[in-house]
């Protein structure tokens, strides 16, 4: 009995410590981002302006498509080397008229392609455009973008210069959230994009492998598109990730150009975010399954099978599992050995404190412009309650003193049961924060939802909200739920520098 109990305790402590793994990996990732200067690709670049066909898949994009095309026509790029194909996916709004008007306004430079049967997803729409773009030998490079994305004038030429190296198959840019006026959610996304793009992609480049070309800014050499079959994968919800993996498996390098900036409109509501991210998370699960033979299996010609990349990939994908496991283990330990539970919790949260301080401070300095208007959301990214727990883990002395003072002021006698109650609450919160953030989505469409929705996200946390979405994606995949292309609504409120 004693040995079994000891074994159980060791197992539970192990599960709690497993919760520290994604934190340690996140620190490793951002340390690598600081070393990005050692892996810059500029030595193999030169001014290079290949004839580039830009593909814009468009389904009911009347509010954004015209402006996006206009911005592309003002790119700092040779006019004769640029063609834009608006691939209209059987839109039912005024997209065909707008696209046709732009084709008339920029004859020979803008082409309106129309699919009669739509609704088959972005990949099918892109493949329609690719077939047209590859039909003759004009295009030397293909840029795939989204209809709402606004390119800064220098961004395309900053990307094409990497294609001067024939070993490069694809180049992606730094996508920033550009909704103006934004709201609390777009500020969270703005901050998230510094971590997920400006930070994470730099570190991936140091590792020699890129996880995903941004869907709104992926430039391919023609040779690369042809090498991966001349088509975009349409069997998963993460066609851009599949393209990225296939490019690297074919032995070509994928480059992240952080100084080529493009601006995108991201969801301003929790429901919209949920829809978009559920699609992404399900796509990532599908990609994980599809490439199951490459994980942690080093192979020649690419670094997809490296241990470092596998850790980065799975720690993100399995983050909610780690959180739930750590929480359940702490709760169980609390009832069989609360002192051990407290020690394990302390170790986990000190790791959390280090991670929070390092990543938040570094991320805000990676892109100070975005950081200036998202710093509050950066600080509250894990949620207000989790931040309070972080402060308690960092400053146990002052927080304990404050607790005593508050209890005394309220006339409540201090007792051990209070301490135990707070401990148990923090263990539960580790997983419950996801449920609270999820409540934000539930109440958002109700009358008090305008206040309660943001409140739940700030209290539960934006990070936990993303974990809740990943959990929902697992459930959908396990249930073999219908794979649907739920388009993210775009309203044309991106404000980008001129």
């Amino acid at each position: 009995m004693g040995a079994a109990l000891l074994g159980l305790k060791v197992l539970l402590v192990g599960f709690v410590m497993l919760g520290a793994l994604p934190l340690l990996v996140a620190n490793y990732q951002f340390l690598l981002a600081g070393l990005h200067f050692r892996r810059l690709h500029y030595g193999k670049c030169r001014p290079y302006f290949p004839r580039t066909t830009i593909l814009i898949p468009a389904w009911n994009e009347e509010s954004v498509i015209g402006r996006s095309v206009d911005r592309l026509m003002r790119l700092d790029y040779p006019r004769a080397a640029l063609r834009v194909y608006v691939v209209d996916d059987a839109s039912t709004d005024r997209t065909p008229e707008v696209a046709a008007a732009k084709a008339a306004e920029y004859p020979g430079r803008v082409v309106h392609l129309r699919r009669d049967r739509g609704g088959e997803g972005k990949a099918a729409t892109l493949n329609h455009g690719l077939a047209a773009a590859l039909a003759d030998d004009w295009a030397q490079a293909i840029l795939i973008m989204d209809s709402d994305v606004i390119y800064e004038r220098s961004s395309l030429r900053r990307m094409t210069r990497h294609l001067a190296d024939p070993g490069v198959g694809s180049v992606t840019a730094y996508i920033k959230e550009g909704s103006r006026p934004g709201n609390y959610l777009t500020r969270f996304i703005g901050y998230e994009y510094i971590t997920a793009q400006a930070g994470a992609r730099r570190s991936q480049e140091v590792l020699g492998v890129i996880a995903c070309l941004a869907g709104g800014a992926q430039l391919h050499s023609r040779a690369n598109i042809e090498a991966i079959g001349g088509q975009i994968d349409h069997t998963t919800l993460a066609e851009d990730t599949v393209t990225t993996f296939e490019t690297q498996r074919a032995g070509r390098q994928v480059v992240f150009e952080p100084h080529a900036t493009v601006w995108a409109e991201e969801p301003g509501s929790i429901v919209g975010l949920w829809k978009q991210r559920l699609r992404w998370a399900r796509g990532n699960i599908q990609v994980t399954r599809r490439f199951r033979h490459i994980w942690f299996r080093p192979q020649p010609g690419n670094r997809l099978g490296s241990v470092s990349f596998g850790l980065l990939w799975f720690c993100l994908l399995l983050l909610p599992v780690f959180m739930i496991l750590a929480s359940a283990s702490l709760i169980t330990l609390f009832f069989i050995d609360y002192q051990l539970a407290w020690t394990a919790f302390h170790a986990l949260w000190l790791t959390n404190v280090i991670t929070y301080l390092f990543i938040t401070s570094f991320t805000l300095t990676i892109d100070p412009d975005v950081g200036r208007h998202t710093w509050k959301e950066a600080l509250l990214f894990p949620g207000a309650v989790n931040v309070a727990i972080l402060v308690a883990a960092l400053l146990p002395g002052p927080v304990s003193w404050l607790g005593h003072q508050l209890l005394a002021a309220a006339g409540i006698p201090y007792s051990l049961s209070w301490v135990r109650g707070v401990e148990l609450f923090t263990y539960i919160w580790l997983a419950a924060c996801m449920a609270v953030a999820f409540l934000g989505k539930v109440v958002e469409s109700t009358r008090p939802g305008r206040v309660l929705g943001p409140l739940f996200v700030y209290v539960g946390g934006y990070g936990p909200l993303l974990c809740a979405i990943t959990t929902a994606a697992y459930v959908k995949e396990l249930r073999h739920a219908e794979v649907r292309w739920d388009k993210t609504e775009k309203t044309g409120k991106v404000a980008a520098p001129t």
Partner: protein
């Protein structure tokens, strides 16, 4: 890949080599600056942890 002859696929007006060099220099400087920022953030974390151990650690 190379440019096909006889097409107006020339570079932007600013002078491609000069613009290219200036942009690459800026980018390299920025990336080196990130390494310094990263080191500063690590130092910040170390200072905060030291303060915790020596001043705020005891409940």
């Amino acid at each position: 890949m190379s440019q096909p002859p006889g097409e107006d696929t020339g570079p932007p007006a600013a002078g491609p080599e000069r613009v290219f060099s200036a942009e690459v220099d800026d980018a390299v400087r920025y990336e080196r600056g990130l390494a310094v920022k990263c080191a500063c953030c690590i130092l910040l974390v170390a200072l905060v942890l030291a303060a915790r151990v020596y001043f705020f650690g005891q409940p």
